[in-house]
């Protein structure tokens, strides 16, 4: 799997992290952050078992807070044991090294056993967002050729059972709890029966470990492949961008279905031997504020939408709570507006430190680091070792922009956690690299002090509440409605979510625009895609603006929505009416 991902000299160097960290490399020395495993490297060993071997087995790895007010503590020794049971269970069911294991659940304790156990068994872990509707789930299970799915009985019945028999690759469905629906295995009794001794598979640094899905502008979502060697960068970036030190109390609020929930919600904190706070509940103002004081949270990694929801509630709502334990606050997902940085600096009183990275980068690339002067609204500076640039394309190829000029944010693709491929999509993968750079698709500027500032996306991807959404996936679901002829989906600015998803549709003969139909179409999209992905508003049009080749010009709809110049419309064949 790993060898066919090299696509010539512009792809990331696949020499392995230890090779990349050799003398003279910018990554020299970072390999000391992990212990290795008899010449191999396995994320599970670095996250759990090596701490037990070093005498820290009794330290709390995860302090889990249930929605119902319950608490559970899981020590590093218990995490190592339960993940071994999970790995044993997978093997008992005949699964092999390299097989893909998907999770579809919220922040429940089983998630961590599943992630670490899968990696321990040398299998490849993919988390899915539990708020996805059945369509996006099915597409991702198919692309990733899922062999195992770990979920809850409720999610299984609602979102998997209707198409289970159409997924030939799926051999095993594990559901949390003591009982399982037909065709599934109950996880709790199965884990009890499975042995708690498991010899961690000696994976190599270049062996695939994780596949995270991310959206593309066109076509299907992309399965981003990450390797075990990425753990070096998880350890390093967790330490220097978030200040994760052994014993620190750390709370990452990210959903486990996205890359942040794995890189900084599981791997980086465990490898750095912190105590993680895991809250099962979704955002709830007083619950969150209460957790910080009660659990003595020191490092808090959250996202702009949640921070803006806190801001909306005002400083008064925070006044009764104790934030004295906090030492470092960070934010990721979309640019954090300067007002939110300043507000948090007064209320907590620590500013949120914005940082920037992507599913493809596997870890934080650019950040307002601990101890660095925060420029509100800026994503910060590249981490030591990361080489970034702002590029523009002209007749001579790619050239670097001057200070203050807008161009594409690019990185030298030689850090340990750079993606190694898109599943089954070599061409799309190769397109991400040019002239020795990884091209992020984000437009940005760099100021004279070296700070980077996000400007927008180069493509039509939508960033809403920290999630990257591909318009094509939304449009495809919309046109499945019998009344919808064509659909164009764009992101429009929103004070809380960053952007919200908005759809323009044309109707088939026999359908007339009405409030009732608008609701029906939105309801249809929500059922298929889930609330986070479906459009929040749907507008009727007679025709949509198209190029001569029949491609819908989303860019033009967006420019009009925002009252911006329409740009080059020479390819426009038929306009919006």
């Amino acid at each position: 799997m790993q060898d066919d991902r090299k696509t010539g000299e512009e792809a990331p160097r696949a020499g392995g992290v230890f090779a990349a960290g050799g003398e003279g490399s910018r990554w020299a020395g970072t390999e000391k952050l992990v212990s290795g495993l008899d010449g191999g490297l396995n994320i599970a060993h670095e996250a759990a078992d090596r701490h037990v071997a070093a005498g820290y087995g009794a330290q709390t790895a995860i302090r889990w807070l249930g929605k119902d007010g319950s608490r559970r503590e899981l020590s590093y020794a218990e995490l190592a044991a339960v993940s071994s049971r999970f790995a044993s269970l997978l093997r008992q069911h005949g699964l092999q090294r390299g097989d893909s294991v998907f999770s579809l659940m919220g922040r429940v304790p089983e998630l961590y056993a599943c992630a670490i156990g899968t990696l321990k068994a040398g299998m490849v872990y993919t988390p899915l967002f539990a708020a996805f509707g059945p369509e996006p789930i099915r597409t991702r299970l198919e692309i990733g050729e899922a062999r195992v799915l770990v979920t809850t009985a409720a999610l299984y019945r609602r979102k998997i059972a209707p198409f289970r028999d159409q997924l030939p690759s799926l051999k095993l469905v594990l559901v949390t709890g003591g009982e399982a629906p037909e065709g599934c295995v109950a996880l709790e009794p199965a884990l009890e029966r499975a042995g708690n001794q498991f010899e961690t598979v000696r994976t190599g640094a270049e062996d695939p470990a994780l596949v995270h899905f991310t959206s593309g502008t066109t076509g299907k979502p992309k399965g981003v492949v990450h390797v075990h060697g990425a753990v070096v960068y998880h350890a390093y970036s967790g330490r220097i961008a978030l200040g994760l030190e052994p014993g620190a109390v750390y709370w990452c609020t990210a959903d486990p279905g996205w890359v942040t929930g794995t890189s900084y919600g599981i791997i980086a904190p465990l490898v750095n031997r912190v105590t993680m706070i895991v809250d099962e509940a979704e955002f709830d103002l007083e619950r969150w504020y209460g957790i910080i004081g009660r659990e003595r949270v020191e490092i808090w990694y959250s996202a702009p939408t949640a921070i803006r929801l806190m801001m909306r509630a005002g400083a008064d709502a925070a006044a009764a709570f104790d934030f004295s334990s906090l030492t470092f606050l960070a934010s990721v997902g979309e640019p954090l507006n300067p007002e939110a940085v300043e507000w948090s600096g007064k209320v907590f009183p620590q500013p949120f430190h914005d940082n920037w990275w992507q599913t493809e980068t596997g870890g934080i690339m650019i950040a307002n680091l601990p101890g660095m002067e925060v420029k509100p609204g800026s994503m910060g500076k590249p981490l030591p070792g990361i080489v970034a640039a702002i590029l523009r394309e002209d007749s001579g190829g790619l050239t670097e922009c001057g200070a203050g000029e807008t161009g594409e944010l690019a990185l030298r693709p030689d850090w340990p956690s750079v993606m190694r491929g898109y599943l089954h999509e070599e061409e799309r993968f190769a397109k991400c690299f040019a002239g020795g750079w990884y091209l992020s698709g984000d437009l940005a500027t760099r100021d004279a002090d070296g700070y980077y500032w996000f400007v927008g996306r180069k493509d039509d991807l939508i960033k809403t509440s920290g999630h990257l959404i591909g318009p094509f996936e939304v449009e495809s679901a919309l046109i499945e409605h019998p009344g919808v002829a064509e659909a164009a989906v764009i992101g429009v600015p929103d004070a809380t979510a960053g952007e919200i998803v908005k759809a323009y549709i044309t109707l088939n003969p026999g359908y007339e625009p009405s409030e009732e139909l608008e609701r029906e179409v939105r309801g249809h999209a929500r059922k298929r895609l889930g609330a986070a992905v479906a459009p929040r508003s749907v507008l009727f049009r007679n025709t949509l603006p198209k190029t001569r080749s029949g491609k819908i010009m989303r860019r033009l709809l967006k420019a009009r929505e925002l009252g911006l110049p329409e740009g080059d419309i020479s390819t426009l064949e038929s306009d919006e009416t």
């Binding site: 929605k67 708020a131 979704e282 955002f283 709830d284 103002l285 007083e286 619950r287 939408t305 949640a306 929801l309 909306r312 509630a313 709502a317 809403t464 509440s465 809380t496 979510a497 919200i500 609701r519 029906e520 939105r522 309801g523 249809h524 929500r526 059922k527 889930g530 609330a531 986070a532 929040r536």
Partner: protein, 83 residues
């Protein structure tokens, strides 16, 4: 407005925000996020819609008190009576 009326108003606004929900299928104890799958943006939109419809301002700290149709009906009718 009685609690029954308030429940009906709540369901009307809820299904405007989340038209995938069949109002007849909503039980008093169904949780907006856990059972009906609303996300935090939906909750904000619902709060804004209720404000516009009823003139009732729901502070963030009270969002858990409208987390089910049953709780919301009681909360909203008490708030309307207090006006």
């Amino acid at each position: 407005m009685t609690q029954t009326d308030m429940r009906a108003v709540f369901l009307e606004e809820l299904t405007r925000v989340a038209p995938d929900i069949d109002p007849a299928g909503v039980s008093d104890g169904d949780h907006l996020q856990d059972d009906l799958e609303l996300d935090s943006m939906d909750i904000l939109n619902l709060v804004a819609a209720l404000h516009q419809r009823l003139g009732i301002e729901i502070p963030e700290a009270d969002y858990p008190r409208i987390a089910t149709a049953g709780a919301a009906a009681a909360y909203l009718s008490a708030a309307a009576a207090a006006d």
